[in-house]
Amino acid sequence: MTGAAIRMAYDGVVACAPVTVPYRRFSINTAHWWIGRALRDLTRAAGLEPPQIDGLVLSSFTLGPDTAVGVTQHLGLSPRWLDHVPLGGASGVVGLRRAARAVQCGDARFVACVAADTNHVDSFRKTLSTFSRFAQDAVYPYGAGGANASFALITKNYMNKYGARREDFGKICIAQRQNALAVPFAMMKKPLTLEEYMTARAICDPLHLFDCVMPCAGAEAFLVCRDSDAKALGLASVRLLATIERHNAFTDDPVQERGGWAMDAGELWQMAGVPPERIDLVETYDDYPVVVMMQFEDLGFCKKGEGPDFVRSHTFTTDGSFPHNTCGGQLSMGQAGAAGGYLGLTEAMRQLTGRPIGRPVAKAELALVSGFGMINYDRGLSSGAAILARAS
């Protein structure tokens, strides 16, 4: 039944005005404060007044007890289209594709896509312990290792099955660190050597310190509107060639070794009308390097099981082969909660429009951004991907 329906192209819709509110390790402010900062920066970057924002899609873990609707009153917005996307690392792609359809169909004209989370000293533990019903019933009481423990099992299984070595994961982390050195507010500011990576403190075998993202506070946002509106506002923008989204795929795999991308990648490339070789930069979701390797495979850059070899054959730096997570990704920037699911999108938009916060990728015209989120019990449930093109 999959792929039976004809997908409509995202004609006439663009994404623009990417905003990153500089991250902080800990913040005494609330998620509402960070959302407010992001929306202020977004409206200024777009040249809009807040009342002109008539659509809002929001993602945040630390907004409780509020949801998106509470935020409208909190921030004085009166949108005619509202969505709350609690999908963690898949929030960016999913928010983008929903906003794009809303604009395309005329349900809203200017949709602000916002993800923000605060990080109080104890918020990480609280988020873990109440993350989901399955987490509460069947994960957190087992050592309370959080996502580290879940991804340790996934990483170990992948290493056992496909021969990946710690050095391969280290290479991904080191290349991203290299890319992050040009970003002033990245959490990680020093170069990372393979020796430092290999000898770092063990967290959950086989994961060590530099395999794990640092939780922090931050916000990301962008605007989705009609191409003609972006032009009228004088905004550099990107077009949306194709997107995919999938939840709870491959339930029969005893341990997760692929994400939902593997189910939908064919459709993604078909809809985009370009082959993987044409992509100039890739922004994957990188909460752990094993997930990056899975995305290379599942999105069609190499075959299943070839991830380790693929990693060995590229540099992943902005100036090298296969530019990847070009501002350092979450592994170097920090993971600002749900905003981590937006980082790849805002960075890709900046690269494609020639305004990166770090180093530019030469001749960046096409980008693939993928998201992955919500480890509910033993595996990440939500996956998504989008192919973006520089608007001519």
Partner: protein, 413 residues
């Protein structure tokens, strides 16, 4: 292989006692199906009555056919440990002070993939048995055990967090004058308890079995009269901080219902020994036990109530007795809630008529004091919260779950 436990040295009284912590114990209402099974030592997961799918974690509908008829039923607990990890850093204080801690994913032969604690003798790729336990917070958890028993396996550090094994623990048996108390002393001594304190009221009065009791290894007779608040408080002052398991063996069995009794003398007596005795014991020993739930190898671990199964439904032939037992059961439930923050379990042992003097006229099957004592030790070794001993007790349990009203009528004779 597990290193055998070493008998703990005497504690330095100036050292701070580590405060008990426990893993998060909040569960969804459905997940308490696991609590019910773990409390009685069964391995149960949900099974769809329509499509027969067995699944985990607990859900409110079958993930294959969406049926809502998804009860917890006993399932095959065998599987293969697919992958393991060692958690070296945790956000939770309980696990933080117990790190490193091993967990892994087991693929059960009957289908589901289960994240479980790992016994020290299991390794990735091994065949394993899963067991449902109650953790230090009294919440249900699953542990992967080796396929076959291994030497010293109950000494495993992670497993021992979920059991109340008497090995190297100090036990107080509250009444050694009766056959049950004496059998209990023997069983705990054999199970490796480091001291078995046995309470005897009016020690100057001889009693049957006295000599044999004194000869049991590591038994120490202590003065204790559960009807005397001062006596209980005095013993708690001396021994409270070195009492890890309490087994209340005080009994008061008299036949007869409400109408056969003339006045309240006997009823007062049975309530004094059983219900108030339990309260005196709990008030004197409970607070210090609760504060010692994480006190090393010989931490405080269990409060054991021996209850007639007729605490659950009245047997009019022993009607007043049943009512006193019911009062004790209710108090035990309260005590369980109060001791849980300290990681101390309340084990309720439900037994049918005992093979003792006061059940002389009752026909078999009956429970011998030895069988009752063995069942108590085994239940503690497994970390249970409820156990039914003997055919009568088993039958009452089964019938209560089917038709309690029929049982009530038929017990009336």
């Amino acid at each position: 292989m597990i290193e055998p436990l070493v008998r703990p040295k005497r504690k330095n009284p100036l050292k701070r006692t580590r405060q008990p912590l426990h893993p998060q114990s909040v569960r969804s209402r459905t997940a308490h199906g696991l609590t019910a099974a773990a409390a009685q030592g069964r391995f149960e997961l949900q099974k769809c009555l329509e499509c027969a799918m067995i699944f985990y974690p607990p859900r409110d509908a079958c993930p294959r056919c969406l049926s809502a008829r998804v009860p917890f039923v006993p399932v095959d607990n065998r599987g293969t440990l697919a992958v393991e990890t060692t958690i070296r850093t945790s956000t939770d204080p309980y696990f933080r002070e117990r790190a490193p801690w091993r967990v892994g994913l087991t693929r059960l032969d009957c289908g589901p993939v289960v994240l479980a604690h790992l016994h020290g003798d299991v390794r990735e790729g091994d065949r394993v048995r899963l067991d449902l336990k109650l953790d230090k917070g009294g919440a249900p958890v699953i542990i992967a055990l080796p396929e076959k028993d291994t030497p010293h396996m109950t000494d495993d550090r992670q497993l021992r967090e979920m059991t109340c094994d008497p090995k190297f623990r100090r036990v107080l048996i509250t009444d050694g004058r009766n056959a049950v108390g004496q059998a209990m002393a023997r069983s705990f001594s054999e199970a490796g308890a480091s001291i078995v304190f046995v309470g005897v009221a009016d020690a100057w009065k001889p009693f049957p079995g006295q000599e044999a009791l004194r000869k049991i290894a590591r038994v120490e007779i202590v003065p204790l009269d559960l009807t005397d608040t001062e006596s209980v408080a005095e013993l708690a002052e001396q021994n409270g901080a070195r009492t890890d398991i309490i087994v209340n063996t005080a009994e008061h069995v008299r036949p007869g219902g409400i109408l056969q009794r003339h006045g309240l003398t006997v009823a007062r007596e049975e309530m004094d020994i059983r219900y108030f005795g339990l309260m005196r014991l709990a008030q004197a020993f409970g607070p210090v036990m609760r504060s010692r739930g994480a006190d090393g190898v010989n931490s405080a671990t269990a409060f054991v109530n021996l209850l007639s199964v007729y605490a659950l439904t009245n047997w009019p032939a022993y009607g007043a007795y049943s009512a006193a037992e019911a009062a004790c059961l209710s108090a035990a439930q309260c005590l369980r809630a109060e001791l849980r923050p300290g990681g101390v379990k309340v084990l309720n042992v439900f037994f049918g008529p005992l093979d003792t003097e006061w059940f002389q006229t009752v026909p078999p099957p009956k429970v011998t004091p030895e069988a009752l004592a063995r069942a108590v030790v085994q239940a503690l070794q497994r970390g249970l919260e409820e156990v039914f001993v003997g055919d009568v007790a088993e039958e009452v349990r089964a019938r209560l779950s089917v038709n309690p009203k029929a049982l009530e009528r038929e017990l009336a004779g």
